[in-house]
Every structure is written in structure tokens, then in C-alpha cells.
């Protein structure tokens, strides 16, 4: 049985258990958000995807990412009140991550250009907004190499037990999902440095370019069932080989 409800007076359908934000986006409603991916559990960290949900006589503000859709609810994705609270939350985030382009842009849309708050006192990872996407992505990938440490004003993203995790494969997903790109990751030809570890790269057997970290390759071979030599050639060399193969067929 599909779930039927309304977003901004437009009737929509969803499967039971779906998140409101996902359903809204699929149906073309734009709700801003900084901490949500469909593939990781929603926790409602950034508080930007606030919407108003009316259920019967009761109406409340809630984040849409971690709201499971229900039959008959009426959702409104914009209102002066929603905009006011989104703006204030964005101001808080902008003060925390002043050099993040993504947040600056979004904040500008809500009329916030300069936060009224000074730099945050405790933020060992500059520009980190503690959305935990990195932690959740790492957990979702099965690596569990990242965690949040502490709580309240001393909360930070860190390593379990404060030491580099053996389970980290250096895939860089944490750096990829970070909305403020604040996780330091440096690649050289031979190594990738991230979270206090250096991971050896598999080098392209043709040109020597880095392809993937060895640990990531081993993890992929073990879990994804693709043969080992799928991982030895870099993307550009594979493309050249493909073009040559096509040429050989055509001419």
C-alpha cells in the first residue's frame, strides 16, 4: 500500500518507511539540506531541511530527512517561519565553517552574508559542521574507521580510540561526502595520506598513475567479486585501450 500525502498541496505517493526529504526531492520539491544522503541513515544534524508537517489538527516544524512519511500528512516546505529558522541555523553553520563555499552560497539565499557570531572556540577540524556524513558513510561502507568523539561543545569527528583505524582503506569517501570539504586528504603518486595514515596506491601498470589504494582494492576484491586485474590500469589508460580496440574493429 503506497502512502499518500500532500507536499505544498500537491498529492504525492511514497513507499512506507521512506524519508520525507527523499520523497520530496524525487517529486521535484527543493528542500535545502547539508547532511543528508539517501544511502546513509538520516540523523537530522544540520537542521536546514526543516519543513512544517501538519497531521490532523497538530502541526509542527520538523526536519524532513529523518521524518518517515505518513498517510494524510500535509507538508509545507516553505514559510516565513521555516525561512527564519533555516536562516538562523545557516548563520550558526556559517560561523562554524566560514570558508565553506557551499554554506556561504546557501546562507546567502537566506539573506545571511556575515554571521553575527565570532569564530567557534573548539573546532579541531576547521570548517567541520559536525554533520557526521563522513562517519555515516564510513559506517555504511562497512569500514567503521571514523566516529564522533565527545558531546556538546566538545564534540568532534575523530578516530575510534584516537588512533588510526586498521579498518580504514583510504577510499576517501569521508572526504567526498563532506559538504564543506574540510577533511584533509593528500594524494601523491605513491601514497594517499588521510586521518593520520598513509595508504599505498596501486599504480597503473601502463603509466604509473595512482589508481586506488591497495587496501581499498583488496577490500573491493574481497567484497565485490570482480577479478584482481580490474584494478591495475588507470582510467585514462583504459580509455586509450578502449579507443584502440574500437579503431581495430572499425578499420
Amino acid at each position: 500500500m503506497p502512502i499518500r500525502f500532500k507536499i505544498n498541496d500537491v498529492a504525492v505517493e511514497a513507499k512506507p518507511g521512506e524519508g520525507l526529504l527523499d520523497v520530496a526531492r524525487r517529486n521535484g520539491f527543493s528542500i535545502p539540506s547539508l547532511c543528508h544522503l539517501e544511502s546513509v541513515p538520516a540523523i537530522g544534524a544540520c537542521r536546514i531541511c526543516l519543513v512544517e508537517v501538519r497531521r490532523g489538527r497538530r502541526s509542527k516544524l520538523t526536519t524532513s530527512c529523518n521524518y518517515e512519511v505518513l498517510d494524510g500528512i500535509e507538508v509545507s516546505t516553505d514559510s516565513p517561519e521555516i525561512r527564519r529558522h533555516r536562516a538562523m541555523n545557516l548563520e550558526l553553520l556559517l560561523a562554524r565553517a566560514p570558508s565553506s563555499e557551499a554554506i556561504r552560497k546557501l546562507a546567502a539565499q537566506y539573506g545571511v552574508s556575515q554571521p553575527r557570531f565570532g569564530p567557534i572556540k573548539y573546532n579541531p577540524l576547521p570548517n567541520c559542521i559536525l554533520c557526521e556524513l563522513c562517519v555515516r558513510a564510513c559506517t555504511e561502507l562497512g569500514h567503521h574507521a571514523l566516529t564522533t568523539v565527545g558531546r556538546g561543545d566538545r564534540k568532534r569527528i575523530g578516530l575510534p580510540f584516537n588512533k588510526p583505524a586498521d579498518t580504514c582503506v583510504g577510499c576517501g569517501a569521508c572526504a567526498s561526502v563532506c559538504p564543506t570539504h574540510c577533511i584533509p586528504m593528500t594524494d601523491t603518486l605513491t601514497k594517499r595520506a588521510i586521518w593520520g595514515q598513509k595508504h599505498d596506491f596501486v599504480r597503473c601498470s601502463e603509466c604509473g598513475a595512482p589508481v586506488i589504494t591497495k587496501k581499498h582494492r583488496d577490500h573491493a576484491i574481497a567484497t565485490k567479486g570482480l577479478p584482481e586485474d580490474y584494478y591495475d590500469v588507470c582510467q585514462s589508460c583504459k580509455q586509450i585501450a578502449t579507443s584502440q580496440r574500437f579503431a581495430a574493429i572499425v578499420w
Binding site: 540523523i43 537530522g44 544534524a45 544540520c46 537542521r47 536546514i48 526543516l50 516544524l61 520538523t62 526536519t63 529523518n66 521524518y67 518517515e68 505518513l70 517561519e81 527564519r84 529558522h85 538562523m88 541555523n89 550558526l92 553553520l93 560561523a95 562554524r96 553575527r116 557570531f117 565570532g118 567557534i120 572556540k121 559542521i129 559536525l130 557526521e132 566516529t147 564522533t148 565527545g150 558531546r151 556538546g152 561543545d153 566538545r154 564534540k155
Partner: protein
Amino acid sequence: MTSPFKNAAELEKHQKQLQGQKQLPSTIAVCTSGCVAYGANRLVDAFTKAVKSRKIGDQVRIIATGCQGFCERGPLVVVHPQEWFYEKVDGKDINDILDSALKGKVLKRLLHKDAKGKTYQKESEVPFYRNQKRLLLAQNSRIDPCSIDDYLRAGGYAALAKALTKMAPEEVIEQITASGLRGRGGGGFPAGVKWKSCRAAASKNGVRYIICNADEGDPGAFMDRALIEGNPHSVIEGMIIGAWAVGHPGKPQGFVYIRNEYPLAVERLGIALEQARAAGLLGKNILGSGLNFDIQVNRGGGAFVCGESTALMASIEGDVGRPRAKHIHTVEVGLNGKPSNLNNVETWANVPLIIDHGVKWFTKIGTGDVSDNPWGGSKGTKIFALVGKVKNTGLVEVPMGATLREIIYDIGGGIRDGKKFKAVQTGGPSGGCLPESKLDVPVDFDTLVQEGSMMGSGGMIVMDEDTCMVDVAKYFVGFLKFESCGNCTSCRDGLIRLHELLEDITTGRGSEATIQLIEDLAETVRASSLCALGTSAVNPLQSTLRYFRDEYLAHVQDQRCPAKVCKELITFTIDAKKCNGCTLCAKRCPQDTIEGKKKKPYTIIQDNCIKCGICMDVCQQDAVIVQ
């Protein structure tokens, strides 16, 4: 204890037997809860030793009880059966107490004296107790919490026997609903309604969790601690009845989530659970009813937020203790994804009373009418931890609907040192501060919320004229910014920023724009945070802004702290006319910043003054002025 009770009849027989037993002529009950800080444990040891050496073990029984309530006057000792109430008992008094108990003559010098010099013999006559209605705490100064026989003798577990043999689970739920018992942890949700939905929720393998929230983290609150330390079996009995009502005939499982900072409560709860198991009151086929139920103790790691139900369940699961959205209630999907019924310690302790004495008895106490709507009123009693600038601090139990004035003045004896009352904060760090004009407000769930505060779990902090309300708001916001789980931007960063802004005000850097920003930000913190910690975190702030706005304005407009608390806004000076040059202040000044010649007026060099106020405290001439 004999062998486990196989059925209710055996329990009743044992109970009768206990009640028929001849008691020792005298029982001396020493509070070993909060009074431990006054050396009550040494007192118990000394009593036991004296009894042994005087070979009067067949006449006097010494028991170490839970909190007896009148903490201000500890260590407390009550002599039964006469109920003689002795306060501020010292090691020197032991033999006198024993002598008086043996002779049956009251020891006058240790009795409680009121302000007019009138003495009171019996515990129940002391004004502090007389104006209370002690139901949950009734046994606290009578029984040894480590003795199940004491509890049985006092009629304990009779409610359980009644529920298990004479009442169907649904009937129990009906009774609890009809009684209007509302959650004592702060939310005030009707317990019966919660039980009913938990019973109705689908559970694949029939597992339902019965959870007791004993993660009492409010600063200055110790209601749950007193119950577990003083009468742990009442909580256990409540939970078993809950298991019967909510989980039978499925697989109910029990948890008590208790904070590890309560070592004595953990210990006594553990002993009580062992005793209950040995008595067959926990385990398989309890009292022959077919109910299988046991309780596991989980110790919390000290995070305030774990008192929130979903965070508590996450913590039991072994996860980081942080709340999740509760759009689907925990009675349906809670601990381990199973229906979970979580109630506070005090709520559980109320259950046996209701089953035992009946709905009619219970609904007579309290406010409103709950006959068709369990939200219609607040029934029963509520325990408060009355602390702060009140004369009689301690644990008080009053019927719902008692006014703040009754609690603070009749029971609490008014404000200390003849100062003026300024505000009372109810409901722990997330409660609001109510001014004098609200003193006649009846204390119940709905009225307090209307007035911008809340019942909370029952903390009650009284403040006098020397308290700066901006400073108070800053303290609570500071506490919560540290204890927020840090998930939501609005709560985590919002509270950090609110704390900074309040800091600005208390240090004289604030302006009216600061107050405006605080108001806007507080609104966002309330509106857009996920759990109750965030949404209620701004209560102290918003309520002080509502009732004590002039104090905020004095800070920002005149750079003045009316209560003379905020260090940056006050200066200490010495009145040359009054100073006799005794040098006391100069000697005690930690900064060595008071100068002068002996017998001549001294002066404070302001540059180095850290405004600790020691000079003011030590001055015999009242020559130190704070402005």
C-alpha cells in the same frame, strides 16, 4: 527469607508471619543517603559497635536507611517505634541516644527546634514533614532498604500479588489509566495510555521491554536516588506489575538504566534485585502466574542526555547515547526495535500504591479531573528536591496542586538569612524561573508549563535577592551546551552561542541588540532541535527574559548587575569611615591587592582585584562595599 514463593498465598503467609513477629523494643534508623556527606556512615558504624560492646543487640536494631528528607539538618536519626526525630547527630551523641531508646525517654537536646524555639518530638510533627504528604517516601525512614523482609512487613509486594492473581493485565492498565498517573520524569504523559499502546504494539517474538529511567542528571535533584536508595523494592514491584500489564503473556524483559555516579543506589538496587530473585518475585513463573520477567541493571556513563528515552535506549544497545526522532514512538519501536515501555523511577514507585490502595484513593490526591481524560489533571504526589537559598533544604513530597509558596515557605521555612525571595526554578536545568508573583501557582504538570516552566523530574531551586538571573540563565545554558549530544546545529551551536552572548552581557559587553539576538536564537533552538533537551534548553533563558527583563536591561544599559554577582560589573571598595585598619582583609586577599597602614583605612587596588569577595566576607566592620 525462606524458599522462593510459589504463589501469592505463600507470600501472604510469610508476610503475616513477619508482621506477627515481635520486633525489638527499639529501632534506630540512620539516614545513609545524603547524610553520608555529614559522616553518617561513621555514625552507623559507631552505633553498631556500641550496640555490640554494650551487648544490647537483643533490644536495639540499627538500620541504615535511605534519604529521610530533611537534608539541611543531617545527619538524621529516627528512633522507632516512638518516631523520635533527632537532627545533626554527632558521634558523641550515640550513647545518649541508645540510653534514651533503652529507657524510653526522649533525648531533648537533639530534637528539632523551630525558629520560635518550639521543639518537636515526632518526625511527623516537625513542620518540614507535617506539611508534606509522604506516600512514596513513607517507608524511607522506617525500613532497611537492603532487607526484603522489612519491605514485606510494611505490606510490600501485596500489590504485586493482587495484580498477578486477581487482575488481568488489561485490568491493571485500566486502573493505572483511571488513576491519572502521569510520567514523573518530566513529560507528564499518562502512564496508562503509554502502557496500553505498548501492549497493543506488534512485536514479532513477543518481546517487550520494561525500562526504568534512573538516569537522574539534573543538577541539585535527587528524587530517584532517594527512592532507589531508600526503598528499591517499591520500584521493582512497580516494574513487575508493569511487566504483567504490558508484556504478559509475551516475553517482557526489564532494564533499569541508572547513573553510575550513584554507587550506593546501584549497590542497593543490585541487592534488592538479588533478594527479589531469591524470593521468586523475579524469574520464571512469578507467584505461579505464568509471568516470566527479570530485570537487568545498566549503568550510565554520565551523559545527561541519556536521560532522554531514545538516547537511553541507544545507550543500552551499546551505541552512542543520543536521541533519535520520535515520530514513531518508542512504545512501538524502541530498544532493539521492539516495543518498549519506559517510565521514570518515581512513576514505577507509584504503581504498587495505586494497585494496593485503589484508584479512588489515588485520584483524591491532586488536581483536575481525570475520570474521562487522563490529561485532565495531575494526580498523586510529587517529590521535589528543594534546594538553594531556602532554610530547610531536602527532599519533600507534596500532593499535586500544592502551591510554590506552600513548598517554599511552609515546608522550606522561607528564605535563608532573612533575605528576599527572588525566583524559583522548577524542573531541572531545562525548567523555567518563576518570580514572586507566581508563588501561588499550583504545582502541577499543566500549570507550570503554562507559566513558562515545567514539572521536570522535580528539581526545585530557590533563589534569593543575591542571585543574578542573567548569571543563572548563563549557568544553565552552560550546563546544557556541555551536555547536549551535539547532533543538532540549533542545540549544539545555538547553546554555545547563547552562552557566549550571555557571557557578553554579564561582562558588560552586551547591548540591546545582544538581547534581541538571544531572543531570536533561543526561538530557533526551541523550534528546530530534535529532542526535548534542545527544545527545552532555552526555558531558563526565556523565562528569565520574560520575568526578569529589567535585570538584563540593567546589565546592558547601565552596565550594572543589580544582584552584584557579575564580576566585571562590580567593584569592591573600602569605606574609609568604617575601616579600622585591622588588616584582616589585606592578609586574606589572594591577590595581595589591599594596601594600607595598620589602624588606618585600607584601600583596594582595583587593577589586580579578582572580585572574589573574600575581603567582604572577612571584614568585621562591614567596611567593604560592593557596587
